[in-house]
């Protein structure tokens, strides 16, 4: 039986998500707002790169997210060759799903009690 488009997409996101969980420290910063800023920032820069666009690097934070995203995108391309064939719509969908999953595990459903402490 052929897998549905949703299953195929979900399997692809599984691979990307597995890579990020295992390799990327930026998802695990100290507080929920740091994690949110990093997840949104890195995924945004990675999306640009996967779509062949040059990411904005006007601010130090943007340059930081670009540096983290570049390694990730390079690894995505070498480990998951199917990503090179993904069209714009699919790239956006993959990265949107990836962002959602990371936000869930690192922030929304995290059991880390320190995430919402107002001070560092």
């Amino acid at each position: 039986m052929m897998a549905s488009n949703n299953e195929v997409l979900s399997n692809k996101v599984d691979e990307l998500y597995g890579y990020v969980q295992e390799r990327c420290l930026w998802q695990f910063y100290s507080r929920s707002w740091d994690r949110s800023e990093n997840i949104d920032g890195v995924i945004s820069k990675a999306t640009d790169m996967l779509l062949g666009k040059t990411p904005e690097t006007a601010t130090p934070t943007e340059r930081l997210h670009m540096a983290d995203a570049k390694i990730m995108v390079d690894d995505f391309r070498s480990r998951f060759p199917w990503i090179k064939d993904a069209g714009e719509e699919e790239v956006r969908e993959l990265m949107r799903e990836l962002r959602e999953r990371l936000t869930d595990i690192a922030i929304t459903s995290s059991k880390n009690h320190e995430l919402t402490h107002s001070l560092y």
Binding site: Y29, P60, A67, D104, K111, N112
Partner: protein
């Protein structure tokens, strides 16, 4: 049932919340060991105290600073020279130890005069040294000695000196982690931006959370020099007091040990807008990744690639020699916290080593999120482990080598299991490319050392055996 109640913990069942065995299709949304919590009565913790976290881990590393410990003499010795952090100025920090040597009468009548006298004495005995950190300890905190007032008086009398105070007695937190926190936050509040240094490169960074264990900082510094990056301050490996006052001048904070030093990186980001980049400095793949990220941030990618190529050419063949011989080795990591997540994938990727159990003395839940995400299924993840638990875990996972500190290391040696010092190293540095070859060599020497097995053979004749060994 992934949270594990070990047999030895049957009388302290709350320990189950601190020990996790990773099973397929699970993640940290379902199970996360409780950590950075008070040690459960009945468990014999391996933890250090909060004062130790401030002095032994961070402050005591500095190469130009008197470390005045305001307390009984034992607090000084036990946080001196047990960590191996050399310096490039002759190891000043490891040659000397300073204490106010508080006795009963000083506790009864107050210790401020004694502290003031000791501070003057220290500056007079060491006229070239103009910087000092004063630490309170349990008794001097309890009697309420006002060390900040004393420091002000001394600085008023000696305009050329600068003194920082750390009020973090041993009882002030559940582990040494509290000491990291107090020193980080105190320093950013009181000392950062009180000095400016000459900036010599357009690429500037602080390297945070690396303590020059057996030369880690000095090895990595050779990379930054080759890349033309100025390290404004090292927090605190081979570092100086005044460089740490200039942290606000850097364009990037690169963080290795996020547990001991993430706080100051966060505050530098919040107060000065300096971004925080976390990297792993142990392991070939990780080190290359870290260098690539730093170079991408500064726009000097080509320089980074050249450096990585040079280092791979020089060290990778040696690493591969060890990998061939270490493949399949089962390793346990029982250290402070971050080395669990720094090492578990790097030894797997670079050496083919399988990590089967990990225990953290002072890690927080953030550290367990990282290590469980990186670690394997079937591996034990333990917070604040104790000796009986270690015995039981050893029986369950049968490690070939254990990376831990000297105290637990002595226990392990008696079990005739190879041990490598995971805190101070056997023959480091362990960071960087060359460093990871050193780690591999020490692991290889430990695993293949015939003495470990030979020492377990009782060569006495039965008639000579008067007492059977207890263990």
């Amino acid at each position: 049932m992934p949270m594990v109640l070990l047999k030895c913990d049957k009388d302290i069942p709350d320990r189950q919340k601190h020990i996790y065995l990773k099973a397929p299709d699970e993640d940290t949304r379902s199970y996360l060991p409780i950590s950075n919590a008070a040690t459960i009565p009945g468990t014999l913790s391996e933890r250090g105290c909060a004062f130790c976290g401030a002095k032994l881990v961070i402050g005591g590393v500095l190469k130009d600073t008197i470390q005045m410990i305001h307390g009984p003499i034992g607090c000084a010795y036990d946080t001196w020279h047990t960590k191996r952090y050399p310096t490039d100025n002759g190891h000043f920090n490891m040659k000397y130890v300073w204490s106010t040597d508080m006795k009963e009468s000083h506790i009864v009548f107050g210790g401020e005069k004694r502290l003031e006298k000791s501070m003057h004495e220290a500056f007079e005995q060491m006229p070239d040294i103009k910087r000092m950190i004063v630490y309170t300890t349990c008794p001097t905190a309890l009697i309420g000695d006002d060390v900040k007032a004393v420091a002000k008086r001394v600085m008023a009398e000696r305009p050329d000196v600068d003194v920082f105070t750390v009020e973090c007695p041993g009882f002030s937190g559940v582990s040494q982690s509290k000491g990291h926190h107090v020193l980080n936050i105190g320093w950013i509040n009181e000392k950062v931006a009180t000095m400016e240094k000459e900036i010599t490169s357009e690429y500037t960074m602080n390297f945070i959370g690396d303590f020059n264990i057996q030369g880690d900082t000095q090895l990595l510094q050779t990379y930054w020099d080759r890349l033309g990056i100025q390290v404004v301050s090292h927090f605190t490996g081979n570092g100086t007091y005044d460089d740490l006052r200039c942290m606000h001048q850097a364009k990037l904070n690169v963080v290795n040990c996020a547990r001991s030093s993430g706080y100051i990186a966060n505050e530098l980001k919040k107060r000065y807008g300096i971004p925080r980049l976390d990297i792993d400095s142990w392991g070939f793949g990780y080190m290359a990744e870290g260098i690539r990220k730093i170079c991408t941030f500064f726009g000097i990618e080509e320089k980074g690639e050249a450096l990585i190529a040079d280092e791979y050419a020089k060290w990778k063949p040696q690493l591969d020699w060890y990998k061939e011989r270490l493949k399949g080795t089962k390793m346990a990591i029982w250290t402070g916290g971050p080395r669990l997540w720094h090492w578990t994938k790097s030894v797997e990727d670079d050496l083919g080593v399988q990590v089967v159990a990990m225990s953290s003395k002072f890690g927080h839940e953030e550290d367990f999120e990282k290590v469980i995400a990186r670690g394997k299924e079937g591996t034990y993840y333990i917070d604040d482990g104790n000796e009986l638990e270690f015995f039981e875990i050893i029986d369950l996972v049968k490690p070939d080598v254990i990376f831990t500190g000297p105290r637990v290391g002595e226990l392990i040696k008696k079990l005739h299991i190879p041990y490598v010092n995971g805190h101070g190293y056997h023959n480091g540095p362990y960071m960087g490319f060359e460093g990871f070859v050193n780690l591999a060599r020490d692991m290889y020497n430990a695993v293949h050392n015939p003495l470990t097995t030979l020492a377990g053979i009782d060569i006495r004749t039965p008639a000579q055996v008067q007492l059977k060994e207890a263990a």
